[in-house]
């Protein structure tokens, strides 16, 4: 069984972003693999360790530096990488619909039994690519997965819902998106980072894949959210209760 895992390079989750009118400033900002993608990679590698998967292919779409993200995935344990190169901004210009169409082309070429993605990227927060991809391929989908079991060509997936968790069963091939609680991603060790340098990464262009990536959504402007007025520290519970009653009038 082949597994395809999609990974995205995003601004590191701990960075406080700087907003400019045309978009968040990405110059000289620390970039990392999207946290949900790390979880997707970890789950894919675990499928290999369970001898369910024979090969794990990591794919990333982005600028040259997206290769670093792919190397990270390879160092974690993926077998080879596919890099679809583009200079479009990944947080606003190259949009989930286009990404899913590109990934669908790779799925047609590679024919994996399972495609694993993160549930959302922490830059655009769209939460769409996995569902798009499943829809384009007409594969079953299991999003927000917190547990995955594969047996008899079927995936049994526990999903995080608004009210708790639910379990679904779907035939393979299928698309899965990872929630935070699916697993704890491993750190790549130095020897594995060295080995990852020898693993192959194939480079493709968007033109090779024949996908129209024209944005459907145009960003008019980007702004800072409204700032809150400065608060105060209160010395004790009595003052707090008094302020909530008389100043904020919320209790």
């Amino acid at each position: 069984m082949k597994v395809l895992v999609a990974v995205k390079r995003v601004v590191d989750y701990a960075v406080k972003v700087r907003v400019t009118p045309t978009g968040v400033d990405l110059n000289n900002v620390k970039m990392s693999m999207n946290p949900f993608c790390e979880i997707a990679v970890e789950e894919s590698i675990r499928l290999k360790e369970q001898k369910l998967a024979t090969e794990v292919i990591a794919v990333s779409i982005g600028p040259k530096q997206a290769q670093e993200t792919l190397r990270t995935a390879l160092a974690m344990g993926c077998d080879r990488g596919i890099h679809i190169e583009t200079d479009m901004r990944l947080d606003q210009d190259l949009q989930p619909l286009a990404v899913a169409k590109l990934l669908a082309k790779i799925v047609e070429e590679e024919k994996p039994e399972i495609v694993v993605l993160g549930k959302q990227s922490i830059d655009s927060d769209a939460c769409q690519t996995g569902g798009f991809l499943a829809g384009l391929l007409n594969y079953p989908q299991a999003t927000f997965a917190s547990k995955l079991t594969i047996a008899d060509k079927k995936a049994t997936v526990t999903r995080e819902t608004d009210a708790g968790v639910e379990t679904l069963e779907c035939p393979l091939p299928a698309v899965l998106t990872a929630d935070l609680r699916l697993n704890q991603p491993r750190y790549a060790t130095l020897p594995n980072i060295m080995k990852a340098k020898k693993k192959p990464i194939a480079t493709k262009s968007i033109a090779d894949l024949g996908v129209d990536v024209t944005p459907r959504i145009t960003t008019v402007k980007v702004e800072n959210p409204a700032t809150r007025k400065a608060g105060i520290l209160v010395p004790d519970v009595d003052t707090l209760v008094e302020k909530l009653k008389n100043e904020a009038s919320v209790i």
Binding site: D125, G135, T167, R181, P215, P225, L233
Partner: protein, 328 residues
């Protein structure tokens, strides 16, 4: 000098042609608050509003939707096929409704349900949805958050159908009475039969729904254990509020995942948010910083939560929370 009347005219003609479908959510008994907020968002777009209610034994919910102010028509798909909101089935249903009626806008309240089916529907209709719309500027222009709410993007969609999920905290709830819509059967859709529902586990609670509660009391890693959340339950009950949690508290197994507030959990904007033992990471603030009044109780005076709190108390929560419960 021609700008103002021209713009008014184009807005008028646009409103005349807009027609919006709101895909309702319910937990088996009544419409969610998010659905009522999505109806308000639809009224800001202009044009007729149709609400789609699906699931078995939902006649009462369809009637409830028909009574909501501003709703023109209700489509009702009373079938077990739509129970559990399986993405493949809901997508087929909404696609069949859209094929029959060609709405200009399709809205659903932001939730795990809509984030599950809306992208799939986008693939079926070949349109790019907008996630978590906070504000309607005009019928093609909307505002949505990015980067955990640290950037607000104004975007326009060039798609023929505007498909979007609506962040409930961005819009007031539509009035539950005052409407007199007609209820008719929704077009039938072929079952997808790709994915099978097996089971679910939900925690029942008498407390108000976290997403729409007036007061939310949330605990973080500082709570130290699941048992200690009893303290927050008592405080929440006294304030008739809901209990929430940070990711750290969920990951540590103190409370179940559906209580998580933040970028990847629920987004809340209550009148009063009390953060107890929560440091205030970017990802948590994304889910609560639009609350009207924020109270932080933390023994670490340097915790980032104090930068967004209106009232901060630097002290041991195990001492403060019982005292607060008693004095409120």
């Amino acid at each position: 000098m021609f700008h103002t009347p021209l713009r008014a005219l184009s807005k008028l003609s646009a409103a005349r042609f807009a027609s919006t479908l709101v895909v309702a959510e319910h937990a088996g008994q009544k419409l969610t608050g998010g659905t009522l907020s999505a109806i308000t968002a639809a009224s800001k777009i202009g044009g007729d509003i149709t609400v789609l209610v699906s699931g078995s034994n939902t006649a009462a919910i369809a009637q409830e939707a028909a009574a909501v102010q501003g709703v023109k028509a209700v489509l009702h798909a009373d079938s077990a096929q739509y129970d559990h909101a399986i993405a493949e089935e809901v997508t087929n249903l909404v696609a069949a409704v859209q094929a029959a009626s060609s709405f200009s806008h399709i809205l659903a309240p932001s939730s795990n349900i809509s984030k599950n089916f809306v992208p799939r529907l986008g693939a079926t209709l070949d349109v790019a949805p907008l996630t978590d719309v906070l504000a309607v500027v005009d019928e093609t222009t909307f505002q949505r958050p990015m980067y955990a709410g640290n950037a607000i993007a104004t975007v326009t969609s060039s798609d023929a159908v505007k498909l979007m999920t609506i962040r409930p905290t961005g819009f007031e709830k539509a009035a539950a009475t005052g409407g007199s819509a007609s209820v008719s059967a929704a077009p039938t859709a072929a079952p997808a039969n790709l994915t099978k529902f097996v089971s679910e586990e939900t925690s029942s609670s008498d407390r108000p729904d976290l997403a729409s509660a007036r007061v939310v009391v949330s605990g973080g890693r500082g709570m130290k254990s699941g048992e200690n959340f009893a303290m927050l339950n008592t405080l929440a009950d006294k304030l008739k509020g809901a209990v929430g949690a940070s990711r750290a508290a969920v990951d540590a197994g103190f409370v179940p995942n559906e209580l998580q507030v933040g970028q990847t959990g629920k987004v809340v904007a209550p009148e009063l948010y009390i953060a107890v033992g929560i440091s205030g990471a970017i990802q948590h603030l994304a889910g609560m910083k639009d609350s009207k009044t924020i109270v932080a109780i933390n023994k670490d005076g340097e915790a980032p939560i104090f930068q967004v709190s209106d009232y901060g108390l630097v002290d041991d929560l195990f001492k403060v929370v019982p005292e607060l419960t008693e004095k409120i």
